[in-house]
């Protein structure tokens, strides 16, 4: 039997990180000075037209369970919103775009306005109530 100290340190740090991480995931953060910013990407890069009000651009990857859940959630929330478009993009096959938009982890969901300008982003699994509130806040 050696020291219990390394075990105590690892469990304590991991637990602190875990609580912080779970609390911060999915929180939608607004972008600064969205009114004068350039579009995040072109419609050609998006692969479809922007939504007439909002586009939810989700970045997903293969080794990511919450990506599936987020995709189902966003598809469900936007199902009866004809002015909102949800695009689920494979991050790995769009690395230039991922670098330019600084996507670090998956899922990351960008909220784009009608011109394709980023007005907010949620890192981690999206939360239903927050998505609904964010969509309602965009004219």
């Amino acid at each position: 039997m050696k020291s219990l100290l390394p075990l105590a340190i690892v469990l304590l740090l991991s637990a602190a990180f875990g609580f912080w991480f779970n609390a911060s995931r999915g929180r939608i953060k607004g972008a600064k000075s969205a009114h004068q910013a350039a579009p995040a990407l072109t419609e050609a890069e998006l692969g479809t037209s922007f939504g007439s009000r909002v586009t939810l651009l989700q970045f997903s990857s293969a080794f990511c369970s919450p990506c599936r859940a987020t995709r189902a959630l966003l598809a469900d929330v936007t199902a009866d919103m004809p002015d909102v478009v949800h695009v689920d993009m494979d991050a790995e096959s769009h690395l230039d775009l991922v670098n330019r938009l600084n996507i670090i982890s998956t899922p990351t969901t960008l909220i784009l306005n009608s011109r394709g300008v980023e007005v907010g982003r949620a890192i981690g699994a999206a939360k239903r109530s927050q998505v609904i509130d964010a969509l309602a806040a965009i004219a």
């Binding site: 039997m1 875990g18 970045f59 966003l74 478009v85 991922v98 998956t106």
Partner: protein, 149 residues
């Protein structure tokens, strides 16, 4: 409204019971914790074999998955939450790499390498078990970005 899907291979995804890997992470946490305290290279070697089966064959073929199916699953009721098999498989591969490092350190006589590698491995397993932390979500894309161009 429209969901344009550009995630390749989504239709051919193999789905498994999501609670299996989570249960495996609990046992892995306990094994790694004991190994960290006792500096047991034997335990790490055993855990290394478990990681290797999960990473290179399938997480559903791991001994911990067998325990789950035999003793835990029969006691659970309700809907089975499913998940893509690839995220837990990726996590097993990361665990395998940490375990190889730890065992290598132990064989080379470096208890510092052993302690650090087992600590990281334990942190990942504990986060997975306690918080459903998804390792692949955090590091896979980052590793792709770092090797891009």
């Amino acid at each position: 409204m429209t969901t344009t899907n550009t995630v390749a291979t989504d239709t051919s995804v193999k789905l498994i019971d999501a609670r299996g890997p989570r249960f495996g992470a609990v046992i892995t946490t306990v094994v790694l914790a004991i190994s960290l305290v006792t500096h047991s290279a034997l335990l790490i070697a055993l855990q290394l074999v478990v990681f290797a089966i999960g990473a290179f064959i399938s997480p559903t073929k791991s001994p911990y998955s067998f325990l789950y199916k035999k003793f835990v699953k029969p006691r659970l009721s309700g809907d089975v939450p499913t998940e893509d098999v690839r995220p837990p498989q990726f996590a097993q591969l990361v665990g395998f790499l940490f375990a190889v490092t730890a065992l290598g350190g132990s064989i080379a006589g470096s208890s510092a390498v052993f302690t650090v590698a087992v600590s990281f491995c334990l942190a990942a397993a504990f986060l997975n078990a306690a918080f459903d932390f998804c390792l692949g979500c955090q590091i896979y894309l980052l590793s792709k970005r770092l090797t891009h161009r």
